[in-house]
C-alpha cells in the first residue's frame, strides 16, 4: 500500500466481508447465562441476590493529618452506605481507631474493607464480629414542662441529667442502638428540642481482636501489622 505512488487513487477493494455484510446481532448465537449487578453468574436454579445488612467495621489507622478525610472521601466517592463514623485514640500513641457502621451487601462490605486497606495510613481493617460490644452516646435536650416525668424516664434508661433549666433539660444517654432507640421513643412525649449523637463505636468481645492483627491487652506496645 505504501511507497507505490503510481497506484490507483483509491486502494484496491478488500475481499473480506465489509462490516455491513457481516452477520447482524440478531443473526448470531447468544448464550443464555446472565450475571447479576454484582457480576456474579446467576444460577437459574438458585438465584441469589445479596440483601444488604448492617455491619460494624473497625479500622486501626495511623493518626496523621488527613486520615479522616481519606476515609470519608473514599466512602463518599465509592457510594458506600454509611450510618455513622467515629474516630478516637487507642492505647498506642499515634494510632487511632475508626469505627464505621455501614449498610451494605456482603460484596459491598468486602469492597469497603479492601478499599480501606489500600489507604496508606490504614494499618488494619475488618468487620467486627456479630456479637461485638457496641455503644453510642446521645445528648438530648427536651422541654422542661414536667421535670419529674423527665427525671423518671432518664432514670429508667440509666441516663444522666447534665443540665436542668426552667425551660429545658439536657440528658445524656448511652447504650447500644436498640436501647437508645427505645429511650428516644420514651422522651418524645416531652418534646425533643435538640439532639446530638456520636454514632456507634465498638469493640470485639473477649480475646478476639477488634481489627485484624490487633493484640488486645498490650497497651503501650506497638500493634503488629498483619499483612
Amino acid at each position: 500500500m505504501s511507497g507505490d505512488s503510481s497506484a490507483a487513487d483509491v486502494p484496491e477493494a478488500d475481499s473480506r466481508p465489509a462490516p455491513s455484510e457481516q452477520p447482524a446481532p440478531e443473526e448470531r448465537d447468544h448464550p443464555e447465562g446472565r450475571r447479576n449487578l454484582e457480576g456474579i453468574r446467576i444460577d437459574p436454579v438458585l438465584e441469589a441476590e445479596h440483601e444488604s445488612r448492617r455491619a460494624v467495621i473497625s479500622a486501626l489507622v495511623e493518626d496523621e493529618p488527613g486520615v479522616l478525610a481519606r476515609v470519608s472521601g473514599l466512602v463518599s466517592r465509592r457510594q458506600f452506605n454509611i450510618e455513622s463514623l467515629t474516630v478516637g485514640p487507642t492505647t498506642v500513641e499515634g494510632h487511632s481507631r475508626i469505627t464505621m457502621v455501614v449498610e451494605e451487601t456482603d460484596p459491598g462490605i468486602d469492597q469497603i474493607e479492601k478499599q480501606m486497606a489500600k489507604l496508606k495510613p490504614v494499618i488494619s481493617v475488618g468487620e467486627v464480629s456479630g456479637d461485638a460490644v457496641t455503644a453510642e452516646l446521645v445528648l438530648l435536650k427536651v422541654e422542661a414542662d414536667d421535670p419529674a416525668a423527665v427525671h423518671a424516664v432518664t432514670e429508667m434508661y440509666d441516663g444522666r441529667t447534665l443540665d436542668a433549666g426552667p425551660r429545658t433539660i439536657t440528658v445524656q444517654l448511652t447504650g447500644d442502638e436498640a436501647r437508645i432507640d427505645d429511650a428516644l421513643d420514651a422522651f418524645r412525649q416531652f418534646g425533643i428540642i435538640e439532639i446530638a449523637r456520636t454514632g456507634q463505636t465498638a469493640l470485639a468481645r473477649g480475646d478476639t481482636p477488634t481489627a485484624p492483627g490487633e493484640k488486645p491487652g498490650t497497651a503501650g506496645e506497638p500493634t503488629t501489622h498483619d499483612d
Binding site: P25, D29, P31, E32
Partner: protein
C-alpha cells in the same frame, strides 16, 4: 507564573543560589561520590533532588514557578534532565508516557496553585490507568497555608481522590525521605501516581539530613506469589474448560509479564483477547490472538468473550467499556482473575478463582500447575471462524474522501514493530488501536480509563524522551491525534521543536469532534450540537510556525509519500490528514449493551 507575592525568607533564599552559581560548597558536595551516605545536602530542596537521584530518576517534565523555584534551583546541578513543557498538563502526560515506555516511574513538577491544578488531569489519567508517576508541587510557605495566599491551592485535598497516596512535606530534615518514599510507593504493588506537596519554606530551609535509601511504606509491597492451593484449583478449572479464553489487561504490561503470558497461552493453546491497555501484551499477528475486546474491540474478541466457559483474566479491572452490560459479560464463564490488587477481585465481575499476586509470577505458577492442555481444538476452530466472519474491514469507495483507517495502515506498514504509538482520545484513537498490528508491550501509549483528549502530543514527547534515554533513538514515535485532541495540547509541539525530538504527529482531521458526532448520529437524531469543528486552523501551517515540518494530505495517493517524508524528517513533523468526516468507528457495542451484540453497521445501533 510569577513568584509568590509573600516572600518571608528572602535572605535564606539567596544561599542556594550563591552555591549553585559560584562553585560554592553545596554544588561541590552534591557531586561528591566518596560520601557513603549519599551526596551531602544543605537545603530541603537539595535533599529532594538527592532523593530523586538516589531512587534512579533520570528525567523530569515540568514548568517553573514561584513556590517550586528552590527545587528547580537544586536541579541546576543535578544529573536529572529537566524538560520544560508548555503547560503543566503536558508535563503530567509526558511523565506518564515516559513511565509507560521506560518502565520507571515518570516524574513531573509544577508550582503551587494553577501549576498544581493544571497537573490534575494528568494525575487523574495516570491514576485511572495505574501508571507509576511522582508529581512534585510547590506550595506557599507553611505559615501562609490556609490563608488563601497568592497561588495557594489545597493541592493535597484536590489530588487526594486521584493519587495512590499524597504527602504534605513537613520539614527540610524529612522531605528527602518523603520524596523517596513517594517515588517507590508509586511503583510498589499496583502502580499509581503519588504526589508530594512542597511548601517553599521546607525546600528553602537548611538541613544536612541526607535522605536514606528509599523504600515503599510498610504493607504496600505485597507478596508477588498467589496462594498455591488457589493456583491448583484454578489449574483444575482451566484443564476442564472446553472454551477457554485469556484476557490480558494493562497489568500484564505494567508487571512485565508479557513473556509469561505468551508462554502460558501458547503452551496450552488458549486463544487470547486483550483489553485496550493490554494491547501489545500478546502479538496481534499470532494465530491465537483475537485482539482486543470491548466497545470498539474486534467482533471475534467479543464473540469469544461472550461464549467462553473459562475466562482467564490477568491484570484487568473489568472496566465498563470492556464488559458492556455486566449481566451479559462472559455470562457462562468461570472467571480466573489474577491481580496484584485484592480490591479488584470481584469488584465488577465475580472471580470464581481469585489469584492475588504479580501477573508474571502467578502466570508462571499457573503454567507449572496446569497438567494438561484443555481440550479446546473445536473452540479454537470456532474462534478462527469468527475471525473470518467478522474481520476489521472498511470500504474505500472512489466517491468518498480519504479513509482514516487507511492512514493508520500506511504508517504501520512504513514502520518497524518497535514503533511507539501515542494517541489522543476519540475516533482516531480507536482506529489507531484497530488498524495497527501491535506485537510488543509498551508500544501502545494511550489514555484509557480517563479518556483524556489531548493526551497524544505530550505523550509523544514523553515517549520520545524515554526512548532516547533508553538508547533507542532509531525507534519511531508516531502520534495519531484528532483535530479536537490536537487543538487541546498542540502547544507541546514547541517543546518537541526546542528539544529536537524526532516524532511524527498524524492528525486525522475530520473537522468534527468525531466520536461525539458519531453518537449524535446514533443516539441524538443527528443533532450536531457543538461537535462541528469546521473552524479548525490549518495544522500544516501551524506546525511550520512552530518550526516543525508541516504537511497536508487530502487524497490516497498523497498518503505514502507524506508518511515517508515525515518519518524520514529528523525532528517533529505534523501531517494534517483531511479524512472522511462521516466515517464511523465500527464495530460498536452500545454503552451497557451485550458484547456479543456488537453493531457492524450504523443502523444496528
Amino acid at each position: 507564573m510569577s513568584d509568590t507575592a509573600a516572600q518571608p525568607r528572602d535572605d535564606e533564599a539567596e544561599d542556594p543560589d550563591d552555591a549553585a552559581n559560584s562553585d560554592g560548597s553545596a554544588a561541590t558536595d552534591a557531586g561528591d561520590p566518596t560520601d557513603a551516605d549519599g551526596p551531602a545536602v544543605s537545603t530541603g530542596a537539595e535533599s529532594v533532588v538527592a532523593a530523586l537521584e538516589a531512587a534512579g530518576a533520570e528525567t523530569a517534565f515540568g514548568v517553573q514557578g514561584g513556590a517550586i523555584m528552590p527545587v528547580y534551583d537544586a536541579l541546576y546541578d543535578s544529573s536529572i534532565r529537566h524538560v520544560t513543557m508548555a503547560h503543566e498538563q503536558g508535563a503530567a502526560h509526558a511523565a506518564d508516557a515516559y513511565g509507560v515506555v521506560s518502565g520507571e516511574p515518570g516524574l513531573c513538577m509544577a508550582t503551587s496553585g494553577p501549576g498544581a491544578t493544571n497537573l490534575v488531569t494528568g494525575i487523574a489519567d495516570a491514576d485511572m490507568d495505574s501508571d507509576a508517576m511522582l508529581a512534585l508541587t510547590g506550595q506557599v510557605p507553611t505559615e501562609f497555608v490556609g490563608n488563601d495566599a497568592f497561588q495557594e491551592t489545597d493541592t493535597v485535598g484536590v489530588t487526594r481522590p486521584i493519587t495512590k497516596h499524597n504527602y504534605f512535606a513537613h520539614g527540610a530534615d524529612t522531605v528527602g525521605d518523603t520524596v523517596g518514599e513517594a517515588f517507590e510507593l508509586s511503583r510498589a504493588g499496583r502502580p499509581g501516581p503519588t504526589l508530594v506537596d512542597l511548601p517553599k519554606d521546607v525546600t528553602q530551609d537548611e538541613t544536612d539530613e541526607t535522605p536514606g535509601p528509599a523504600t515503599p511504606p510498610a504493607g504496600t509491597d505485597p507478596d508477588p506469589n498467589a496462594d498455591p492451593d488457589a493456583v491448583e484449583e484454578a489449574a483444575r478449572a482451566i484443564e476442564a474448560a472446553e472454551r477457554p479464553v485469556c484476557l490480558f489487561g494493562g497489568g500484564v504490561i505494567k508487571g512485565d509479564a508479557s513473556d509469561a503470558a505468551r508462554t502460558f497461552a501458547r503452551t496450552y493453546g488458549i486463544p487470547v483477547t486483550t483489553t485496550m491497555p493490554g494491547i501489545g501484551s500478546f502479538p496481534e499477528d499470532d494465530d491465537l490472538c483475537l485482539s482486543w475486546a470491548g466497545m470498539h474491540g474486534t467482533g471475534y474478541a467479543n464473540m469469544a468473550i461472550t461464549h467462553t466457559d473459562c475466562l482467564i483474566a490477568v491484570g484487568t479491572r473489568f472496566d465498563d467499556r470492556l464488559t458492556g452490560g455486566i449481566d451479559t459479560f462472559a455470562p457462562e464463564a468461570e472467571v480466573v482473575h489474577i491481580d496484584i490488587d485484592p480490591a479488584e477481585i470481584s469488584k465488577n465481575v465475580h472471580a470464581d478463582y481469585p489469584l492475588i499476586g504479580d501477573a508474571g509470577r502467578v502466570l508462571d505458577q499457573l503454567t507449572a500447575a496446569v497438567r494438561e492442555a484443555p481440550d479446546a481444538e473445536a473452540w479454537r476452530e470456532r474462534c478462527a471462524e469468527w475471525k473470518e466472519t467478522y474481520p476489521l474491514t472498511y470500504a474505500t469507495p472512489e466517491d468518498e474522501p480519504l479513509k482514516p483507517q487507511f492512514v493508520v495502515e500506511a504508517f504501520d506498514e512504513a514502520t518497524d514493530d518497535d514503533t511507539i504509538v501515542t494517541t489522543g482520545v476519540g475516533q482516531h484513537q480507536m482506529w489507531a488501536s484497530q488498524f495497527w498490528t501491535y506485537t510488543e508491550p509498551r508500544t501502545w501509549i494511550s489514555s484509557h480509563g480517563l479518556g483524556t483528549m489531548g493526551y497524544g502530543v505530550p505523550a509523544a514527547v514523553g515517549a520520545r524522551v524515554a526512548a532516547d534515554a533508553m538508547g533507542e533513538p532509531d525507534r519511531d514515535v508516531v502520534c495519531f491525534d484528532g483535530d479536537g485532541s490536537f487543538l487541546m495540547t498542540m502547544q507541546e509541539l514547541s517543546v518537541a521543536v526546542r528539544e529536537d525530538l524526532d516524532l511524527t504527529i498524524a492528525v486525522l482531521n475530520n473537522e468534527y469532534i468525531g466520536m461525539v458526532r458519531q453518537w449524535q448520529d446514533a443516539f441524538y437524531e443527528g443533532r450536531h450540537m457543538a461537535s462541528d469543528y469546521t473552524w479548525m486552523p490549518e495544522f500544516d501551517k501551524l506546525a511550520e510556525a512552530f518550526g516543525a515540518l508541516g504537511l497536508r494530505v487530502d487524497d490516497y495517493d498523497e498518503v505514502a509519500p507524506a508518511v515517508e517524508e515525515a518519518l524520514e524528517y529528523d525532528g517533529p513533523a505534523v501531517i494534517d490528514f483531511h479524512v472522511d468526516p462521516e466515517e464511523n468507528v465500527l464495530p460498536m457495542v452500545p454503552s451497557g449493551g451485550a458484547n456479543g451484540k456488537f453493531a457492524t453497521a450504523e443502523d444496528q445501533l
